[in-house]
Amino acid sequence: MITSKKRDNTSKKPKMGFLNKRFLFSLIILVLFFIGLNIYSGYSHKAYGAKEKNSQETQCEKCQTISKITPRTPIYFTLSDPTKNDKGRGGMHSHEGDYKNESYKAPSKKAWLVSGENNPVSGLDLKTFVFDTMQTQKDVKLDNKMGINTYSFEVPKNGYYNLFAKSEIIDNDTLFYRIAKLEYLNGKHGSKDIYNEEIKKEIKTDKIKIDLVRLKDDNENSFFYRISMGDALKFKATLDGKPLQNADLGIDLNSGWSKNIKTDANGTASFVMIRDYFPSWDKFDKRYKQEMLLTLTFSEDINGTIGDQEYKKVNYILTYPLSYYPNSSDYQSYSYGLLVGLFVFVLSGIVVYLYRRRRTKPFKEIKYEE
C-alpha cells in the first residue's frame, strides 16, 4: 500500500525475526533427530537383544567371607549392593531406577542383609515383611543372585516403607531375638503428593515384639526429607506395643563416632547428630551421604519355648540403619549472602543515583575508530 517505490521504508525487518525463524527450524530438526534415534535404538534393542554384561557369571568374591555369624552380631539392611564397592555415592535421587525397568510395573526397591563391615549375610532363616505407606503389610520378594539374598519390595507410592527381618535363634537357653529394620522414604524431588500427619503415624504391629520408631517432628514436611548433621533425632522403643524403659541404644556412625544412650521412662531416646564431615571448603560435597547404625539391645529374663527348645532369657537386638547428609548450614552462608546482596544493592543504588543526577550531559560525541 506504501506508494514510494524508490527505497524500502526506513524501519528495518524486526531485528529478532530472523533469529526466531531459524531457531524454531533448528529445534524441529533436533526433535526429529532425537525421535529417529530413539526409534532406531528401540529397533536395535529388539533385533539384537539387550547387550548382556560379559556372559559368564562372575563368582562374587565377597561371598566366601560369609562367616558363620554368631547370634549376637547384629545384622542390618542396606540399600546399596554390598558386592559393588562404590562407597555410598548414590545421588540425591538416582534416576536409573525410575527409567530402567522396561516392564513398567510399579517401581520396586532392593535391599541386602549385611552384618559387620558390610559383609553380606545369607543362610539365615528369616521372616521378612514390609509395611507400606498405609501401614498395611505387604510381602517381600526374596531372590538370590550369585548366592546373595536380595529382598525387594514394591514402592508404588511416595511415603515411608518399613522393612523388617526377624530371626530368632536359641543358643544355650537364651533366645536371640534379632530384628533388622529399615525405614525407606520413597519420594521424588518436587513431587506434589500430599504429605500429612497420616504418613507420620507410628507403626502398630504385633508381628514383632520389639520395635524402635523414629518420631517425626513437624519440620519434616516433604517426601524429600533427609536427616542431616546437627538434627535432633528422637526414637521410641516399644516392647509388645508398650514403651520400653532403659533399653540401651547404641549409635555407631561409619565415620567411627559411637555413643550409647538409655531410653527414658516412656521409652524415648533422643540425641543430636554430630558433624563429622570436614573437607577443605572447595572439596565440600553437599550430597555426601554417610551411613549410621542404631542398635537397640535389651534383655529380659523370660522363659518360654520355641518349638521344642527352652529359653530362660531373651536377648533382643534391633538394628536400624539410617543415612545422613551434611547440614545445609555447613555449606550455605546466610551472612555472606546478605552481605553480597546489601553491597550490590547499595552500590547499584549509588551508581543509578549519580547517573540520574548528572544527566544534564551536552551532546553525546560520536566516536571514530582511528
Binding site: 500500500m1 506504501i2 506508494t3 514510494s4 521504508n9 526506513t10
Partner: protein, 423 residues
Amino acid sequence: MNTIHNIESPKEKQNRHKAMEAIKLLNTLREDFKAPISSMEYFYDLFERVHCKHESLHDDKTKIGTMCIQIPSEIIYALDGVPIRLCNGFYTDDEIGSDFMPQKACPLIKATVGHFASGNFTDKPDIVFSPTTCDQKTKAGTTIESFGYKFIDVDFPRTKESEASREYWRRSVKQFAVELSKFQGKKLTKNNLRDAIKKIGYAQLLYHKLSEFRKNEIVPILGMDVFLVTNAFFFDKIDNWIEATEKLISELEIRAKEKITVTGKASPRIIYTGSPPIFPNYKIPQIIEESDGIIVADETCSSNRMFNDMVAVDEWNIYDMMDSISDKYLKACTCPIFTKNEDRIRRVVQLAREYKADGVIYQAFAGCTVYEMEQRSVLEAMEKEGIPILYLESDYSPSQGGQLSTRVEAFIESLKTRRRNKK
C-alpha cells in the same frame, strides 16, 4: 472648499483595508451558502470583532506569539500565557511585507512580516517563539527582530526518523520551556502542565467530534466553516472556543438528524491539502465550495494537523509529559519540511478513504518551495491510489479569481462525471 475631513493615518488605513478583506469573506460565509449554521455566528462575530473592530481579546494574560504550530501550546497554557499563532492571511499585510521580503517569497510569511512591520496588532505578542521549520519563516526571524520584537528561535530537526532528532527536539522543547518560564516568571509544575494537556486534549476531542459529522453522506457543515473554527483557535480564548465548539457540535447533531445539508445533490467530496488556508485567504476553498464542491477533510497545518494527534502520557510527572508532548509534535507531524514525508501521503490516502472523498485539491502558495516540491510525489501517489487530484498554485492577491475558478469548476465537473460513470 469642501469641509475638512481628517485623513486616516497609515495604521487606520491598514486596519480599514484588513477590515474590508475580512468583512468580505465573512459576508460570503454568512450569506452566500445554503443553510447557514446559527452557532457559527460566534465565530463570524469573533473574526469581525478582532479584524474589523480591532478589539483585543487578551489584555490580562501575556501573549506568546508563535510563528508555527510546532511550538507546544500545552507548555504556554501551563505557564499561564496565551499562544497567538502569527500566521497571517491578509493581502494588505502581504503588500506591506513584500517590501521586506524577496519578490518570490511565500505570501503567508510576507503577510506575517508585513504585520510585524506595521506593528499594528490587536493582541500584540510580548515575545515571539519561532521553530526552525520553514526556511523563509526562519530567515524572516531576523527581519522581525529588527522591528524591535523579542524573538527566540526554537531548534526543530528536519529528519523525523532518526533517534538523534528525537533527542534533539526533546532537549530543545525543554530549553523552550525554561526560557518561557523565565520570561513569564512562573514555574512549570506537574499540575498546570497536566491541566494544559487535558485542556488542549479536550479541544482536540471536540475537533474530532466535529469532523465525525463530515464523514457521513449528508455533510452538515462547510469546509470553510471548519477552517474558520480551527483558525479561531489561533488566537481566541480557549475556554470561549471550547464552549462555542460544543454548541456548534450539538447543533450539528440536530442538523445531522434532520438531514440538513450544505451541499448540492451530488457535490463531489474534496480533500483539501497543501499550504494552510489562513483567514481571510480562503480564496481557493471559497471557489471550491462555490462551484458545488464540498471540502470534507483537509490535511493542512492550520486545521487538521494542529488537532489530529493527541498527547498520551503514562506517568503524569513533568519529564514524561514533556517527552510525550515533544514526541507528539515531532513524530506525528506531516509537515513537508521533513526530509522524508511518506506520512503525509499515507495521511492523505487514509483521509480520502475514511471520508469517502472523490478527489484531492493540492494548493501551494507561490514561493512555498517545500509544498511545491512535494507536489510531484503526492500526485504520483494519488495516481497509484486512483484518486483524482488537482494541483493549484496561488497567492494572496485577490485579482486572479477568474482563472482559478474555471480550473476548479472543470475539476469538480470531472469528479461528478466520474461519480456518475462509476454508479
